[in-house]
């Protein structure tokens, strides 16, 4: 399972991976996520959540910017996964993205890792 979609300034890639026998879904978000492409981002993320992954890892290393609309999309994924017994992890936010995660304390709610490998290891 993989696909690569881009919405305006945003590119979202999804791959199914395995770490130590455990399957996880890796979503890479690149570009700039804001109110003008949040609906698409939310729809793409909802599709992944509906597959009921145990672990969903979102790699933010290619994301230069995220506004509060996009943050809400991530928080929504976190809530949905939480309800269905899954786990969300974020990886490698750049400075601007790390700032909004810190300001809103979203980084205390959702674990943030330095690498995909660390996130996959939990």
């Amino acid at each position: 399972m993989w696909y690569n979609k881009c919405v305006d300034l945003l590119t979202v890639s999804v791959t199914a991976r395995e770490s130590a026998g455990e399957l996880y879904t890796l979503v890479e978000i690149a570009g700039e996520a804001d109110v003008t492409n949040t609906d698409e981002l939310r729809r793409l993320l909802d599709e992944e959540v509906s597959q009921q992954p145990h672990t969903l890892i979102i790699d933010l290393s290619g994301l230069r910017f995220m506004d509060s609309s996009a943050l809400h999309a991530l928080l929504r994924v976190n809530r949905s996964l939480d309800r269905q017994g899954g786990v969300l992890a974020l990886v490698s936010p750049q400075a601007a993205v790390a700032k909004i995660l810190r300001l809103t304390t979203a980084d205390r709610l959702i674990p943030v890792f330095d690498s995909v490998a660390e996130a996959a290891a939990g």
Binding site: D8, D67, T104
Partner: protein, 183 residues
């Protein structure tokens, strides 16, 4: 942001997909300076008489935007660095302007305008649109992470040194001030 505090006078402007098509064809991700940059109109702004809070002579610039927020962010970041803000504070100002401009995209029925000016003490970004903020405490209370909105103006208040919100029946003007490091 602040879904309840804005009056939505009409449908929001539609989203353009040009950048995406360009990206797909060229097989690369978007650059910091987006393709839609040239669509911004830059024009000198005469100093309004009687407003002594505007800069005396520095070159205030004006941009009109609809949904091209990435272009607005690139402009703000460039001016913030040029004015002397550190990278971290330039990111803060860029985030703040983007959040305010996002309100225009979501709630106003017409384009917004952005003016930027700076002097030795501060850089100011002024955003105007025809949306109306009815909540006098908009952005002053920290919303819960479970809330579906309301973070935008709160973030703006956290990162800027001073925020002025002037809203009446004709629209809203928001001024974001960032102090410059002492020379």
């Amino acid at each position: 942001m602040n879904e309840g505090s804005y009056v939505r006078p009409g449908p929001s402007v539609s989203r353009a997909g040009v950048s995406c098509l360009l990206m797909a064809r060229e097989g690369k991700t978007a650059q910091r300076e987006p393709a839609g940059q040239e669509a911004l109109t830059r024009q000198p702004v005469p100093r309004p008489d009687g407003d002594d809070r505007l800069p005396p002579s520095d070159d205030p610039v004006s941009y009109t935007y609809t949904t091209d927020l990435a272009a607005i962010r690139a402009v703000v970041h460039r001016y913030a660095i040029q004015a002397g803000l550190t990278e971290a504070r330039a990111i803060d100002l860029t985030l703040a302007v983007s959040e305010v401009a996002a309100n225009t995209v979501k709630h106003a029925k017409s384009p917004g305008s952005l003016k930027i000016w700076y002097d030795v003490k501060e850089i100011v970004c002024q955003i105007h649109d025809e949306g109306i903020i009815t909540d006098p405490l908009a952005g002053r209370r920290q919303p819960s992470l479970d809330a579906s909105g309301g973070h935008g103006l709160w973030i703006v208040n956290q990162v800027c040194d001073q925020v002025e919100i002037l809203s009446d029946a004709t629209g809203t003007t928001i001024r974001l001030h960032m102090n410059l490091p002492h020379a």
